[in-house]
Amino acid sequence: MEVSDKKKEVNLLSLLREVQEEYGYLPEEKLREIATGVGRPLIDVYSVATFYKSFSLTPRGRHHVKVCLGTACHVRGSNRVLDATKDKLGIQPGETSENGEFSLETVMCLGCCAIGPVMVIDNKYYGQMSPAKVETVLKRQSEKL
């Protein structure tokens, strides 16, 4: 990603984004590497890494589940969809299941409000979700619930 770089300092945000894209998350060793590489304390790197929601400090599962909690989905009952999903996967948002199969994330608006409540699994969109549909949709991705 290009950003006009007038200052001599390195753009930490861009560096972290590259790592996130390559590894799917920000491994601790990489954060330390960056800190040493740019000559800044680890806390500075960690501070930017934890400020932005796009970055994850934990690895994602084989199937990444996003439940939209945007306002339009919320008034259509997305929190109940989330509760059912947490139930079925046995994890909280931000976590990955023990067998590494699923990870769960909540997002604030995918811009597909017309088909809300929305759930996305690995870039596949599922609209008009309800608690009753969660199990079937998850099973379509993987039997190892």
Partner: protein, 1030 residues
């Protein structure tokens, strides 16, 4: 991406015009062009599969020369995606699937035939709409910004040039000075579309005047409000419009570098912007010496990383600079010291897109759109509880009502509108009473909200406003950068208090504390996030304070949302709190007797309710959001019809207390009170003025809805508990009762004093009070209303009168109602049955005079139209001058409402319409020891509400007489919760057997009901909301 390499770069303005001409001349005379919406929303709905199907079919049939498929940006009517528009006729196909493609090609494209099933049907008129401009959703919009989306492929710069794109650029750069450009923007009145609404021209001027050689312009595309996706659709669908605006802006301000800061949640927008920038560079419209003007301009893209606060301009700048997105103190403003400490002008995506239009068509043209202080159009995302979800572009000054109803098509399921949130988490909710508010910067602020970036979330009766405040506050707390203590801790405390309230742990004083916190956070925080963080809380308290109070004081969530307070929406909506999911489950398991026991734990009239309840539960049934609400009432009736009496096993009376209670009136309120007090061991006497028992259940509701033997048997059960009922016993004075040794009195005397129409001729003998008409027929009085009857009114009583008249042999029965069908208080199923039986309905009409002509009644009517709103949020009907007409009838029956007639001898304080005023929680009247409930306190309502009032009164009276007030009974056996699997797939309600219309001549029961198989089948549609984890 097509670039004419012999032209690049375009050296002069004349070259550009030549290119424009060449593009339009070289446009192949295609047979047809297919515009396929490929915005993110339609992609999620499957437009990529549709595109693939088109390509496959076109190549397979060798039609590439004749047909062009254009993948465009968002068309705006997201509800109906995937959308396909066939040019040049602009045939509008919606909800298209890949399986429809072969037919679209063979029929529509090759033969010109319309495929009807793919057309949009206007729900108001039931008409099919053929062409895009006629679609009601688009008709009322003014799509000067978004309209181009459907015409161009966003990554094809030639398409943009062909529709006159990049024509403002040469005009600004070559024919206007920077100051002239700024003046034009100032005169147009354009205000920032990101939310704050600052005058754009003035902002540019400030930056131009700032000191410094190097300046920047930034496009803020960090559209973070949940539910708002206007900017995304603009960047995905027409990125060149934004680029052109930025180049012009850079020229005016003196900046040669522009940055688009876009959320990383918008990969398609990023992709299209990058391609657009590349092609603009190729053509020399970006770079050095653009069009030989001497000006340079370049654009780069910087991506966000998931932080809402980065939409705030100083936080945005910090993020571009690579660090945490924390805001900075202002002054100095970015116009003075912004990115890299240099003068920077930041504008929203939509603001930039307006610039080329203003330069091309002039400030005067622009300023004629909108209102005095809010010029131009605004794009809104209309989402939530709305029929036509999508992007709406209208002139500022358009009212909320027009957007939500005329364009948005109103609320799904005909539910009641509650509020609309504008401005996202920084805004406030606007209630029904303000639906006629014109949308402008100032008017929204005055109402307690803000324009914001344009998100409009529509909410209905099933939305809890306390939960909404909690939701937004939690969001803001999560997104707060943490720099200011007030915002960081303040939003946290507000979130904690709100969460407590939604869990039934709220305390007196919480509302006031929230108000104080919200105001303080606003006054003390550094940036816009903190300064507006209190808005959602303050607005919901301002307009929906009662909901907060109900949560705190009564642990009740009327919308049925707050899980800790609601077992299931159906039970929550029932005035008596009947455990609906439990008895549905028991019916499903083949145990109707136990189901009745569950029902009887809350009400002593399971059968009556199963025949006539107004079923508030069904309105809230979540199944109704999938396909159709469960037929809860009919299932209750099935259980009651198959009762085995096992409920009596666990029912018992307490030992006699020696206290005596007089219940006046044997309607549902009185009998319910009597039943529970008898169970508590008191000696209860019911004093009924008429010669029959039952109140409205017998005298109001016709036998073809509630068979007499059903009512009789339930009243017998009440007598069996020990209640003594005396008929022909009118009570004129309460003193008499107390003198006779009664310790407490309950007045359930109903409301059956007919209201008057207040018109001439109303006192004619053939003009009957509907309530008296029904009573007489139900008592067996022989009435002959003649051949033609008019019923005036729109509630269930009016429908009952009309259907009763038919059964008395009247040949023609008509109902005249002063409002619309949608506003009729009568139950839709009753109206439907009446129409099936031949009743004629006339709406927006009211009688103004009655006279006697040739032995018949001549009724003069006037037609009505809907005028301004009243306080209840409904539009008042107003007469249309000159629309008078008349009709002749033998009898006119008035069912326009009734009032209580409380004898003066009771000595009770009464309300405006003569109702007895009571404490809403204890049912206590103004007189010690006297309680009241049912229609006498509320006006005509429903059986279930009367029963619920009876329960409350029984609790209070028992306490008053020294008891604990605990009237709960355990009638059903304890059981294990055995969840049955919720059935997936859409399936509408099972229809129940009914008498065919031509057989409905007598007073026999019309709704025959379910048999055993049908009942069990219907139960399987229950979503078991009671089992959802808490």
């Amino acid at each position: 991406m097509t670039i004419y390499s012999d032209v690049k770069p375009i050296q002069t303005a004349i070259d550009l015009e030549n290119l424009r001409r060449r593009i339009s001349e070289e446009k192949l005379p295609q047979l047809s062009c297919i515009s396929l919406c490929a915005g993110t929303g339609c992609r999620a709905a499957g437009s990529e599969e549709v595109r693939d199907a088109f390509i496959k079919e076109i190549e397979g049939k060798g039609l590439k020369v004749k047909l062009q498929v254009k993948e465009t940006g968002c068309h705006g009517f997201c509800e109906r995606g995937p959308i396909v528009v066939i040019h040049p006729r602009k045939i509008f196909y919606q909800k298209v699937g890949p399986e429809d493609i072969p037919e679209i090609i063979s029929e529509t494209l090759l033969k010109g035939k319309i495929i009807e099933r793919l057309l949009y049907v206007d729900p108001l008129t039931n008409q099919q709409i053929l062409y895009e401009p006629d679609v009601p959703f688009y008709k009322k919009q003014k799509r000067i910004i978004l309209g181009a989306n459907g015409e161009i492929v966003p990554t094809e710069i030639n398409d943009y040039i062909a529709i006159n794109g990049y024509s403002a650029l040469p005009k600004a750069l070559l024919k206007m000075s920077p100051e002239e450009v700024i003046d034009e923007i100032k005169m147009s009145g354009l205000r920032g579309r990101g939310g704050a609404g600052f005058a754009t021209g003035s902002k540019w001027e400030l930056c131009r005047k700032a000191q410094g050689d190097i300046k920047y312009v930034i496009c803020n595309a960090d559209e973070g409000d949940p539910g708002a996706y206007m900017n995304r659709s603009l960047l995905e669908g027409n990125p060149h419009s934004v680029i052109e605006g930025m180049i012009i802006g850079g020229y005016a301000i003196g900046a040669s570098e522009g940055i688009i800061y876009v959320r990383d949640e918008y990969p398609l927008a990023v992709k299209h912007c990058k391609l657009a920038i590349e092609s603009a560079k190729d053509y020399g419209l970006l770079g050095n010496n653009i069009l030989d003007s001497g000006s340079n301009f370049d654009i780069t893209i910087s991506m966000g990383a998931g932080a809402f606060v980065c939409g705030e301009e100083t936080a945005l700048i910090a993020s571009i600079e690579g660090g945490r997105g924390t805001p900075r103190q202002r002054p100095p403003f970015p116009a003075q010291r912004g990115l890299w400490n240099r003068p920077t002008n930041i504008n929203n995506v939509e603001t930039w897109a307006n610039v080329p239009l203003i330069i091309n068509k002039g400030a005067k043209w622009f300023s004629e759109i909108g209102t005095a202080k809010s010029k131009g159009t605004k794009v809104f995302s209309l989402v939530g509880k709305i029929n036509s979800t999508g992007l709406v572009e209208v002139p500022l000054g358009t009212t909320l009502r027009e957007i939500i109803y005329d364009i948005g098509g109103g609320i799904p399921g005909n539910r009641q509108f509650k509020a609309v949130q504008t401005g996202g988490p920084s805004g406030g909710c606007i209630p029904a009473a303000l639906l006629d508010l014109p949308i402008e910067y100032e008017s929204l602020k005055k109402a307690g909200s803000i324009m914001g970036s344009g998100g409009m979330i529509v909410m209905d009766e099933n939305t809890c406003m306390v939960d909404i405040a909690r939701y937004y506050t939690a969001f803001l707390n999560d997104e707060s950068c943490g720099k200011c203590f007030s915002c960081r801790k303040g939003t946290q405390r507000m979130q904690e208090i709100l969460t407590d309230i939604t869990q039934g742990k709220g305390k007196e004083g919480d509302i006031e504390l929230l108000e104080e916190l919200a105001s303080t956070i606003r006054d003390v925080s550094l940036c816009g996030l903190g300064q507006t963080a209190g808005n959602p809380v303050l607005a919901t308290i301002r307009y929906f304070r009662e909901e907060y109070e109900e949560h705190i004081r009564k642990h009740h969530c009327r919308a049925g949302v707050c899980k800790a307070l609601v077992k299931s929406p159906c039970q929550n909506a029932c005035p008596a709190g009947i455990d609906v999911p439990r008895y549905i489950r028991l019916i499903n398991e083949g145990k109707p007797g136990e189901a009745v026991a569950v029902i009887r734990e809350k009400v002593p009239f399971p059968a009556v309710l199963g025949y006539v309840c107004l079923h508030f539960c069904e309105r809230k049934c979540r199944r109704g959001e999938v396909d159709e609400a469960l037929a809860i009432k009919m299932l209750k009736r099935f259980a009651a019809d198959h009762d085995d009496g096992s409920w009596k096993k666990n029912a018992r009376n307490l030992p006699p207390t020696g206290k005596k209670v007089a219940v006046i009136g044997s309607g549902p309120a009185g009998l319910t009170t009597a039943y529970y007090l008898a169970r508590r061991g008191h000696y209860v006497t019911v004093l009924e003025a008429e010669r029959v028992t039952g109140g409205m259940m017998r005298l109001g509701i016709p036998a073809f809805r509630l068979p007499r033997q059903i009512l009789d048997s339930e009243i017998d059960e009440i007598k069996a508990v020990g209640v003594d009922i005396k008929v022909n016993s009118r009570v004129e004075s309460l003193d008499d009762l107390f003198n006779h040794g009664y310790d407490a009195v309950f007045a359930g005397i109903g409301a059956y004093l007919s209201r008057n129409m207040e018109i001439e001729g109303e006192d004619d003998a053939a003009v009957l009070n509907g309530i008296d008409f029904l009573r007489d027929v139900n008592m067996g009085v022989k009435i002959n209303p003649g051949n033609k009857v008019l019923v005036v009114g729109g509630g269930n009583a009016a429908i009952d009168s009309a259907r009763t008249a038919l059964r008395l042999g009247v040949a023609e029965v008509a109902i005249a109602y002063r409002r619309t069908y949608a506003a009729m208080p009568a139950s839709p199923e009753e109206v439907k049955e009446a129409v099936e039986e031949g009743v004629k309905l006339d709406f927006l009409v009211t009688p103004v005079k009655i006279s006697r002509v040739n032995g018949r009644l001549k009724v003069e009517f006037v037609r009505m139209e809907l005028g301004n709103m009243d306080d209840s949020g409904r539009r008042q009907p107003v007469p249309i001058k000159g629309s008078e007409f008349s009709g002749e009838y033998d009898t006119v029956i008035k069912n326009i409402g009734d009032r209580p007639a409380v004898p003066g001898g009771y000595g009770l304080s009464l309300g405006k319409s003569g109702e007895i005023t009571v404490d809403p929680d204890t049912m206590a009247t103004s007189r010690k020891g006297v309680y009241a409930g049912g229609d006498v306190i509320s006006g005509p309502a429903s059986v279930i509400e009367a029963i619920a009032a009876g329960r409350k009164a029984a609790v209070s009276i028992d306490r008053y007489l020294g008891g604990t007030g605990n009237i709960d009974e355990k009638l059903a056996p304890a059981e294990e919760l055995t969840p049955f699997a919720v059935e997936e797939g859409e399936r509408c309600r099972l229809p129940f057997s009914m008498l065919p219309p031509d057989k409905r001549k007598s007073f026999d029961l019309v709704e025959i009901g379910y048999d055993r198989n049908q009942a069990v089948n219907e139960c399987k549609r229950c979503l078991r909301c009671d089992l959802e984890s808490h």
